[in-house]
């Protein structure tokens, strides 16, 4: 899914959820057709044609991705269905190395003749660029795996669940919201299936079937008299799962001031809470700006981890490859080389993990044929590693890639993307209730809201969905107009407690943007509830 189209579709910020230009997502197809995969034998033959064509024109390395990308959107508002679409995008992308330079070409004419032509075009693009002085590419060695396959371990394929079942669920969600005081409600279910075939001149032929799902809603409460309105979004998370994510189970519910969810989600329960929360928010008191201890729920903290830990440890940003768009990073190589750069307090342990079951970033192999793995990024607060791909591995002394390469579609070139980056739970037993008991003046934040961070990932500002004032160890009421501003290193060094693994949950982004042309990727971030001391909170209320 293209990021800008996703943002358009899910652009609830100004109110109405709009339907996308379907052509931008690919070809709408009916559900049954979506289930037929493309024959593996045909894909292997096609791959060999492309790889041979590239080599015969002078490529020293080539890879081909034959991709079939399926999306399903079901979008509703109040009592009405806004749109149902099944889309397909099918085609081939070929990347080559020639004269030490990358070239890429893509075609949606999936025939041997057109694929060979695209391979030749990719070589001519590489050669044209090598004339203006490219930095010669050094690829980390990668063994060929032969013919292998991988599939997201789903229980229920979302594309096999009848559309009517999804529509009925969403209309029921909307009905509950309206009965509980909502003025408006939008709800959606997005399902994604990437059928990706990768082959390279290293001798890999990798067939993968990747599934993701994202149910969500947005409830708005309007107070006509004052002209004020408040919203509360779903506390669901996009997941690397099938439709089973929507089959709620008691053991996945986390009780507290509002119920939160682990590996399964209860959309009907959450929307009722959301409608009540939105009404409470209209009446909640405006925050007094100042320093507070923050207690951040995983449904909120994932985004802070994403922006302030995930992005600055991406090696392409560190090296300057993103300087013209997403930016660079304050975590320069000298800080890593020193082996003692204190990124956070000694309670902070962060891992990168492309294998975590249920996560958005889990695949068997990345988009340049590297088997996925797990590694440390921050150990006892110290920066110990980055996230790298094949042509960057040598820069940080690695003998093989960490498997972070991804392209959003067959017609986009693959490049370094974020692995699942997660904060490890506290090693000592600690519940949320016990954490709150020790806080004198704090704010407990649930759900992610507004977010902004500078291009080197120092200064950030985050909002949330609901904010609770904590006084002398007790939650005393709801607050409004809260945003916290901090500096990444100061913030992570102020981390004073992390709840244990019984509170660990995943959050995530369905559409993380990077690159030019911009590409979207999906990534999860796990954490337990975490405390940060003395963080600057501002009041965001204004009058116009």
């Amino acid at each position: 899914m293209k990021r800008k189209d996703f943002l358009y579709l899910s652009g609830m910020g100004l109110g109405a959820l709009m339907l996308p230009d379907l052509s931008a997502f690919g070809t709408p197809i009916d559900a049954m057709q979506a289930l037929d995969g493309v024959d593996a034998k045909f894909k292997k033959e096609l791959a060999d044609v492309a790889l041979n064509a590239a080599k015969s024109k002078g490529a020293t390395y080539a890879d081909i991705r034959i991709g079939r990308y399926l999306n399903q959107f079901v979008a509703t508002r109040e009592k009405r269905i806004q749109g149902i679409a099944n889309t397909e995008s099918y085609g081939v992308g070929i990347r080559v190395l020639a004269n030490g330079c990358w070239g890429f070409a893509a075609t949606n004419n999936v025939t041997k003749e057109d694929v060979a032509k695209a391979a030749e075009l990719a070589v001519s693009v590489a050669k044209a660029n090598s004339k203006i002085g490219a930095e010669p590419v050094q690829l980390a060695p990668q063994k060929g795996y032969g013919e292998v396959s991988w599939k997201t371990p789903i229980e229920i394929n979302a594309f096999e669940v009848p559309v009517k079942e999804k529509v009925d669920l969403l209309l029921q969600v909307n009905d509950i919201a309206m009965q509980n005081g909502a003025s408006f409600v939008n709800s959606v279910i997005f399902a994604v299936n990437e059928q990706k075939y990768f082959a390279s001149t290293d001798g890999s032929y990798i067939d993968q079937d990747v599934h993701r799902i994202y149910p969500s809603f947005n409830v708005t409460r309007i107070d006509r008299q004052s002209g004020k309105f408040q919203t509360r979004n779903a506390l669901s998370s996009p997941m690397g799962m099938g439709y089973e994510y929507l089959n709620a189970r008691p053991q996945d519910k986390v009780a507290g001031i509002v119920t939160r969810y682990k590996g399964r989600y209860d959309m009907l329960e959450d929307v009722k809470s959301a409608a009540l929360n939105a009404s409470e928010k209209v009446k909640a008191k405006s925050v007094e700006p100042g320093k507070y201890d923050l207690i951040l729920d995983p449904s909120h903290l994932w985004l802070t981890i994403h922006e302030s830990v995930g992005h600055p440890t991406e090696l392409d940003r560190v090296l300057g490859y993103e300087a013209n768009y997403a930016g660079t990073s304050f975590l320069t190589l000298d800080k890593w080389e020193s082996k003692k750069f204190q990124f956070g307090s000694n309670k902070v342990n962060v891992v990168a993990d492309k294998t975590q079951v249920g996560s958005l970033g889990a695949v068997g192999y990345d988009d340049e044929g590297v088997k996925c793995k797990k590694w440390d990024i921050i150990k006892d607060g110290v920066l110990v590693n980055y996230q790298a791909i094949r042509d960057q591995a040598h820069i940080i002394g690695l003998e093989e890639s960490q498997g972070c390469c991804y392209a959003q579609g067959w017609d986009d070139v693959q490049f370094q993307r974020m692995a699942n980056i997660s904060l490890q739970p506290g090693k000592e037993k600690l519940s949320v209730d016990n954490m709150i008991k020790n806080v004198e003046k704090g704010i407990y934040i649930i759900g992610n809201g507004s977010f902004s961070i500078d291009q080197q990932r120092y200064n950030f500002q985050f909002g949330g969905q609901t904010f609770y004032e904590v006084k002398d160890g007790k939650i005393v009421g709801m607050l409004n107009d809260v945003a916290y501003q901090s500096n990444t290193r100061e913030f992570w060094n102020s981390c004073s407690a992390i709840c244990d693994e019984s509170d660990y949950r995943l959050g995530g982004s369905f559409n993380d943007g990077k690159g030019q042309p911009a590409q979207s990727s999906a990534v999860s971030h796990g954490s337990s509830t975490t405390r940060f001391d003395g963080v600057n909170v501002i009041n965001t209320a204004r009058k116009i």
Partner: protein
Amino acid sequence: MAILSKEEAQAILKKVLSYSKADACEVTLTGSDGGNIRYARNAVSTAGQISIMNLAVDSTFGKKTGTATINEFDDLSLQKVVKRAEELAMLAPENPEYMPPLGPQTFPESPTFNPKTAAINPDVRAEMVGKSLAVSKAASLEAAGFLENSTRFSSMMNSNGLFAYNKGTDVSFSVTIRNKEGTGSGYIEKSYNDLDKMDVLALSKIAATKATGSAGAKAIEPGKYTVILEPLAASDMLDNMFRGFDARSADEGRSFMSKSGGGTRLGEQLFSENVNIYSDPMNAEVPSATWSRDGLALKKTQWVEKGVVKNLSYSRYWAAQKGVQPVPFNRSIVFEGGTQTLDELIKSTEKGILVTRFWYIRSVDPQTLLLTGLTRDGTFYIENGEIKFPIKNFRFNESPVIMLNNVEALGKPVRTGSGMVPPMKIRDFTFTSLSDAV
């Protein structure tokens, strides 16, 4: 194959409609052909060439619509896609907001196509990027940039006799140039329909000058300052505001255009008197197709006049509900200004801050359109009409609505993104914290 002429597109669309058995049918055919080069660390990093064409069919029985698309164009495939849309329509629930397709319309041709831009090939792109790299290398600076061009066509036809076609070209370029120490950074971006307007060499020199000039930035206290926003910075703030010119959200009470107690702010003085904004698809500097996706003609539309909101956009459905004419939105925005150059605006400033651009702007509160974000790639302190020294980047928390109530002066508009935007002098712009980022 990807770029069809008006006649070629019309022939395919007519053929598709001839297969339709639905009460109403609308067919859209689009294609694009283009390429790009991305570079960083003074060398090309990735590059590509992509060509695509797509056909979409909306079939409707009563108020039940189904959509299907295909990217194969033989007769059998065209018949199949129509049949599939009709099958989906039969299965679809009724859409109470369905509007029947419009009848024949007249759409003037706008100057969106330029043959020279359409002729750009990988060698032309490489040569252009070579010029940009020469600037950074000669000055011992480091460049990261992106050059992209495309030729696109879009066309639609419906069973009520409407036909529309547009062919256009775009070339866009952006570059960030930084010093080797990482203490200075400059940026510029431009988009045009016409390749001749794109001077990659001159643009790269501006970014290089900013990179050198922004090194050694001093920290000054956050607070309220008079700012001079370069057109790019101004446009960054305004993009978020234009999305709110939607009548339905305003009527529903969930936009900054909503009025307390109900209704919208249409007709209200919402901005300073020197704010005048319109859109015009025929504008030679920012041309666009002259029809919207729902088949309405895009015409010159005044959105704000002397600070008063003159129009909100109405979809056909919402217009019918409210008993008004539909008003489609158009991205060819012209924010009118004066004749002053950026330098003249600086000269007239006793104390202030010059902002090259903003970054990572996000909505904080949709009720007031409060935005947060940061300055980036060249922020300077102005005193007694002169740039005195570079300053460290700031985070701001500001609403464009408040900002456009504090307009001191507007300079000469230039093309920025898909619109025309002037440099702006704004008083009391709110910076809330400092950033160490360069």
